[in-house]
Structures are given as structure tokens and as C-alpha cells.
Amino acid sequence: MDRPLSPTAARGGFARQLRKYSLQLGIVGVAVFIWLLFLIGSPRTFLAGDIYVAFMSTTPFFALMAIPLTLVIITGEIDLSFPSIMAFGMTAFDVVFVTTKSVWLGFIACLLAGVLAGFLNGIIVVKIGIPSLVATIGTQFFWRGAVMVVTNGQGMGMTPVRETILYPALVGRIGGLVPAQFVWTIVFALVVWFFLNRHRFGAHVYLTGDNVESARLMGVNVNRTKVITFAIVGFAAAFAGYVVSEEVLFFWPTLGEGYMLNTLASVFLGGTSVFGGSGTVFGTFVASFIIGAINAGIVAAGLTGFWTSVIYGLIIITSVSLQAVVSRRIR
């Protein structure tokens, strides 16, 4: 607020702030609720520190993609090709590393391949006009197929990367405890948060998803905005693919399979509207860790891992339904 407020106005201001941050507060509430459930279900596991280190190690694999995917979904589009782009980026690494023996060149090629794949998704959507749902199902198959053709279905050992600084920088343990990928996830979240909330680009992301026609009429370059968001997801998918491969020291051509559901679930559980125009990086960040915790929580609570998908599915349907209901109420 820019000027002093009367007590009444200040109370009104507090209510407004509550409303403004309702999405964020809601997701924190969900996180605390689920954590308490797990704590009651399996106190021995959830009172020890090890499980949290494990969350910080494995959740970033999809949180790194869920954070930028939030931008795509805010623009009213969707990207289903990112699991394949993870493998496509690593295929570029494979080819360049085998040719040049340079981990750094391979790493750069990996990221560039990701950006290129994301950029192509964007171009197909905005220039040819194919709905992103269909376009990215197509590119998902295409990139996966390309990976299989190039690698001939063969994986690649990543042991040589341990000799470069990239290894400790991306998947090392800071202070022997905190996984570096967790720090990278925070860095991603802060950078994306800045651009979404404090930069003209983010303003255009929200406007594009809310009312594309109005944004276009008011001079927002909606096509460029969408293409950039797809390219960022491509970059993040390639980065995440590299981090996963470094963590397990092997690149499997099937890399990325199994990441679709938890990444999308993180975005939707985080409060991003499937209809576009609203969503927060904070929500996706917290939701990623909820999703990351569910698997471990279910197993620790004595259920079989088969329950994980059931719970993920329920979470997606419930969060999207709640948004639809709330948005109708506001209207």
C-alpha cells in the first residue's frame, strides 16, 4: 500500500491479501495436511531426516519441468512432449560427447536440443494452428522415435561426466547433505517467478492465457509469448534429463517415461488453471514436493506402490474440479 490506511481499510486490506494469496495458502494447507497424514501413518519414517533428503534428491527431476510448464499452461496451452525431450536432449549429448569427447560441449548440445524441440512445439502450435494437446502428442512420439533411431535403443554410461565440475555442480551433495538438484530447483523457481511476476514477459503470459483475443488487440505478441514458453519447457526438460542421467550415471533411451503424470499433477495441484490465465510458481513448487512425497508416503504407510497412480489421478481430478467450481462461484 502506498498510503496509510484507516483500521477498517487495513482490515479490508488484510482480507484482500488473504484473497490474493488464497491459491498459495491453499496449497500450503494441502501440504501440511498430507504431511500430518503421513506423520500419523508412519511417524518413524517421517520424523527422520533421511526421507526429506530423498525428497530433495528425486523431486527436482520433475519439479524442474513443472515450474516452467506452469508458464505454458497459464498461456492456455499444454505440452505433453517434455518426457521425450528429456531423452532427445540426452541423445544430443550422446552424439556430441562421442564425437568430441567434451562433456561441456555435450551438455550445451543437450540444452540447445531441448530449446530447439520446445521452439518447434511452439511454432507448430502458433503458426500452423494445431491445438497444443495434439501437436505435442505428435512431437512426443516423434522425438522418442528419433531418440530410438539415433541410439538404436542403446543406452550410454555417464561415468566420464564424474570427472568434470558439472557432476558435483548438478547432482552433488552440498555439505554432504543437500542435493545440488534441489538448489537448482529453487534457482529455477526464483528465475521463473521473477519473469512471471516482475517482467513484461510474465504479464504477457497471463494476458495471453486469460483472453488471447484481447491481448492480441492490445498489442501483445501472443505468438511470440507462447513460443518462448514452449522453448523454456524444452530447455528445462533437457536440463532435467541431464540431471537424471547424471544422478544414475546412465542414459537410458527410455528416459522421461514415467515423468508425465507427476509433472502435470504438480502444475494442476499447484492451482494453475487448466483454462489458462492463472497460476503461480510457488503453488507448483510446493505441489511438486507434495507429489514427490506421496510415493514414499504411500509405501511408508504400508500400502503398495500401485496406489501411487490412483492417488495421483485423484489429485489431478480433484484439483481441477475444485478450480472449476471456485471459478464458477466467483463469476
Binding site: 484482500r16 513484461r200 514477459f201 504479464a203 483472453n211 484481447s214 488487440l217 498489442g219
Partner: protein, 252 residues
């Protein structure tokens, strides 16, 4: 009176269909022109020509602020101060008031970093002046979805005035509004004249156009059927003549 816009002998054909033929049309620099006409009369085509979406057939002439314009584009029309306010497409519903006011023209530094404080302060000033929002419940952070239809049109009109639009085209701004919302909307339209600017007010509803327009132009089947200053005709006489237009294509 100087003219903000002059069209001479404007025609527009789509394939075999002549949407407009030989239209002469002008708007004074501080004049509200009501544009009436049935569906298919050519109102939308005319607006799209004025805003640079459509390029008319060769042979016509267009002048904006006295300058002959050969190939008007959407961007050029905006640079020349022509803004359109659409009923449904004006605002982004889920966004705050300040985001809507500065839509596509955000205050930012050279690197694109938003000046949030500046935009909120400017929005607050506009709320207190042009928009006349006095309730403490409405702030620059308020989401426009919660506004009434009339207020929403007010936001769109205020935005156009704030960015120095000289000619504001209102495309059926009262469509779907309740009586009280329509009244509010018409107050905003009258405010355009008070601000020294011009407007083209397009509507089906003569009862909405008549009170705020200085001059009324009736389009019929792609041509100007007639035009007159408001003080030449009473509302009842205008209604009678519009019936005549529907039957004969002419006002007299």
C-alpha cells in the same frame, strides 16, 4: 470543425459480395458519431477498415487528422490514436485492474522489468478521476471479473483515454448490459466528449445511441442511407425514419 477521420468513396468487396460501396464518412475531432444499421449493413467492415484490419478497394481515400493514409495497418491506426473497445474482447477477466489498464503497454524499464508501483499509482489515480470508483472495496489489485458490465466498459474506455486515443470506436458496448449497467456505460461514453476526444458508437439500439451522439449515421446494405445532426430530429422521428430505411434503404 476539424476532422479526426475522413473517408471518401470507400468500397470493400469480398469476392463477389460488395460489403461497402461508395461510403463517405467523417468524424469531427470532438464529436460522438452514432453508427446505426442492421446486421449486414457494413458496420463491422467499416470499423475494420478504420482500424487497419481490412484494406478497402482501390479508388477510395482515407484521411486521419488531415493526413492521407494509403495502407493503414493495425499498429499504424493505434499510433495515430484510434482505439477500439469491444464488448467481450476488451478485458482479461482474471487479471487485476492495473494489469488490464496497462495491457500490452506495461510501464517497464529498458530490460522489461515492470514498474509495479508506478502502474498501481496511475491506476489508483484513474479510478479516482476518469472511472469514478469510490468504493474502498475496489483497488488496483481488484480482479475485473468482479466488476459489473458497465464498469468493465468504463475500464476499457478509460484505458483508451489514458493512452491518448483521439478516436475511440465502441463496438456495441451496451450489448448484454442491464439497464443500470447501460446507464453507467453511457456515462463513460459521454466522458469521451468531455475529455475532448471523439468516438464512433456502433449499436443496434437507437435508445442507447441517441442520448450520447452528436450526429447519427445510418448504414444500410453497404451504403450510407443518411445522416443528420441529433438536434435536427427527435427520437420518435428517428425511429420512424429507421423503419423507412428498413423498407426503402433511404432515410427520406
Amino acid at each position: 470543425m476539424s476532422h479526426i477521420l475522413e473517408l471518401k468513396n470507400i468500397s470493400m468487396t469480398f469476392g463477389e459480395v460488395a460489403a461497402l460501396h461508395g461510403v463517405d464518412f467523417e468524424v469531427g475531432s470532438n464529436e460522438i458519431v452514432g453508427l446505426l444499421g442492421d446486421n449486414g449493413a457494413g458496420k463491422s467492415t467499416l470499423v475494420k477498415i478504420i482500424t487497419g484490419y481490412h484494406h478497402p478497394d482501390p479508388g477510395g481515400q482515407m484521411y486521419i487528422k488531415g493526413e492521407r493514409i494509403e495502407h493503414l495497418t493495425v499498429a499504424r491506426a493505434r499510433d495515430l490514436g484510434i482505439e477500439v473497445v469491444y464488448q467481450e474482447r476488451a478485458l482479461a477477466d482474471k487479471q487485476s485492474l492495473w494489469r488490464n489498464i496497462f495491457m500490452g503497454r506495461e510501464l517497464a524499464n529498458r530490460w522489461g522489468r515492470l514498474d509495479l508501483r508506478g502502474m498501481r499509482i496511475e491506476t489508483q489515480k484513474l479510478m479516482n478521476t476518469l472511472m469514478g470508483f469510490t468504493s474502498s472495496a475496489v483497488t488496483p489489485e481488484s480482479v475485473v471479473k468482479t466488476f459489473s458490465g458497465g464498469e468493465r466498459q468504463g475500464v476499457a474506455i478509460t484505458r483508451a483515454l489514458y493512452f491518448q486515443a483521439e478516436l475511440i470506436i465502441l463496438d456495441e458496448p451496451t450489448m448484454g448490459l442491464s439497464l443500470s449497467e447501460t446507464k453507467k456505460c453511457l456515462e463513460f461514453v459521454a466522458g469521451i466528449k468531455s475529455a475532448g476526444k471523439a468516438a464512433i458508437f456502433i449499436d443496434h439500439n437507437i435508445f442507447h445511441v441517441y442520448p450520447v451522439a452528436d450526429r447519427i449515421i445510418v448504414l444500410d446494405r453497404g451504403a450510407v442511407a443518411g445522416q443528420f445532426m441529433k438536434d435536427e430530429l427527435s427520437l420518435q422521428e428517428l425511429i420512424d425514419r429507421l423503419y423507412l430505411v428498413a423498407q426503402t434503404g433511404r432515410l427520406k
